[in-house]
Symmetry: C2
Subunit: 333 residues, 2 copies
Amino acid sequence: MKKIINDPEALVDEAVEGLAAAHPDLVRISLCPRYIVRADAPVSGKVALLSGGGSGHEPLHGGFVGRGMLAAACPGAVFTSPTPDQMLEAGKAIHGGAGIVQIVKNYTGDVMNFDMAADLLRAEGIEVENVLVDDDVAVKDSLYTAGRRGVGLTLAVEKIGGAAAEAGMGLAEVAGLCRRVVANGRSMGVALTACTVPHAGKPSFALAEDEMELGIGIHGEPGRERVKLEPADRIAELLLGPIIEDLPFERDDRVLLFVNGMGGTPLIELYALYRKAAEIAAAHGLEVERRLVGSYVTSLEMAGASITLLRLDDEMIRLWDAPVVTPALRWGA
Amino acid sequence: MKKIINDPEALVDEAVEGLAAAHPDLVRISLCPRYIVRADAPVSGKVALLSGGGSGHEPLHGGFVGRGMLAAACPGAVFTSPTPDQMLEAGKAIHGGAGIVQIVKNYTGDVMNFDMAADLLRAEGIEVENVLVDDDVAVKDSLYTAGRRGVGLTLAVEKIGGAAAEAGMGLAEVAGLCRRVVANGRSMGVALTACTVPHAGKPSFALAEDEMELGIGIHGEPGRERVKLEPADRIAELLLGPIIEDLPFERDDRVLLFVNGMGGTPLIELYALYRKAAEIAAAHGLEVERRLVGSYVTSLEMAGASITLLRLDDEMIRLWDAPVVTPALRWGA
C-alpha cells in the first residue's frame, strides 16, 4: 500500500479538515460527529439536501456541498456507512424550515442509518423525505446491497435536486424530482485494478494483468463477470449496451452522458472512452444534450470507469444548467 | 500495462476528439496538425495565449482552453514535444490582431519547437512573445531540461495570463505579467509510483514498495533523491520546505497554495496533504489568499503529488479571480 497518509484511522478527518481549509468560502465542518455543511447554512425557507456514505468516493459527497447542490454531507469511514448521529446533527445544522431530502445510495448499511436518521430528525420536528439511488444495472443483489447499487447517477440526483431546492421548490416537489432522476438514469462500471482500503492495507481483490471486472461496484464488490481486458471502444460498448437496454433508452431520447473515472484512470483515457460512448449513443438515435467527463464518483485509486446515462426532460435540463458553486462542481456563477 | 485504450498510437487523437465531443460549446479541434482552440477563436483585438507540450499531463493544456485562459493548446504525443507546424496553424487560427503569447514549459524539445514556431508565426506577420516556465526547485538540470523544469505553476501562468488577455491588456503587458508569475512561483513534486507510457508498455522506472522519489519531474525524470516512504505530514514538509526557502517566501507574503495530484492519487489524500501544507504555510507567516486542490498537472496514472506556491500581488489576485470557462477550470461565469 503506497498512499500519502498519516495514520489510516485519521485520514478521513484530515481530508475533511483539508476540504474546509481549502474552501472556507464554501463549506464549514464538524468532526464530532463528522459532517460538512454549506458555509451559509441554514438557508431560511428552502429545502436542504443531505447526503453521505462511506469515504473513498471523493469528491462525492463532500465536494458537492455548496450553493445549488448539497446542503450537507456526512462522510463515514472509508467504505463504511455514516452513523445516524452524523445525519441528525448535520440535518439540524442545515434545516431552514422547509424540510430535508436525504439522498441515499442503496447499500444496506446506508439505508438503515439514513432511515434511523430520518426518524431522529422527525422527532426534532423536521420533515424528511428519503430518496434511494439504485442506478447500477450490473447486478441485482450484491455484497452490501439488496437490489441495485447506487453509483454514478448520484451526482445527477444531487445536482438537479440541489438546483430545485435552491430555486425554492417544496419538499415533496424536490423529492419527487430526485425520484424522477433515479427512475430515468442507469449506470455501469468496469475495474482494471482493485483499490486498497487504508486500514486494510492490501488490495480488496486481485485481477490478473490481462483481466478486467465488468459491472464492478464502487467498493470493489464483484461485478457481472471477470473478462479479458478489452480495448476502450469495446469497453464503451460493454458498458453502454446493458444501460441502454435496461431503461430502455429509445430513439430521440435526450440524455446526459456522464463518463466517470474510478480514481486511478487518467483523463486522457476517460476522454477517449467518452468519444466512443458518444458515438454509440448517437448510433442509437439518442440526443446527447448534456455531458460530463471526470473522476467524480470514485473508489480510491482504482483504475476503471463507469458510464451513466440519464433521460432528460426540459425541467431537468434547466436545473442541470442552473448555477452550482461547490468544491468539485462549479459553473454558471 | 492496464489502460482503457485502443491503439496506443491513436490515444492522443481519440482523447482530443473526445474533448471536442464533450465540450462543443467551449472548444474546436484540428487533428492534422493537432490542436485545440477556443470555440470563438479568433477573438478580435485581443492577445491570444497558446500553450502545449507532451500529452499525458491532462487536463494541462487542452482542458484549459476557453474563455479567460488559453486560446489554443497543441498536444504532442505522450511525453513528447509538439511540432512547430502545430503551433503555426493553431496560432493562425487564434490570432485576433493583437499578437500571441506562447507559454512554454522548460523542456529542451518544447523550447526548441516553440522558438521555431515563433519564427514561423512572425514570418506570417504575427507578433509573438515566448514565456518560459521553470518553477521546479527540485533539480538544476534534468533528463530533458537545461535549467529548471516547468511544472505545476504553468496552470497559474495560464490562468492569470489568460485573464489579462481577456481583459484586453496588450502583448507586452500580458507577457510581462506571465513572467512576473514565473518569477514569483515555485513548485516541487513527489512520486509514489511510476507511470506507463502507452506505446512503451512498461513503467518508466521502478520504486520499491517502501520508497518514494522526491523532486520527481512530470515525465518520471529522476528527482532529488529516492527516500523511504514518509507520512503525509512529512511529505508536505519535504516539498514545502525547499519551495519556501528558494524564492524565498517571507512572512506576510500573500500566496496561492496549489496542491496538485499526479493522476493516480485520490482526492482524499490530496486534501489531507493540503491540510498540513496550509499549516506549514501559516507557521511561516504566509497569508494563504487563494487555494487550489486537484489533479491538474499530471503524469498519466502516477501516484504522487506536487505543491506550488505563488506570491500574489493585487493584480494577480484580481486576474486569478476573473471568470474562467474551460473544460477543467471553471468559475465566476
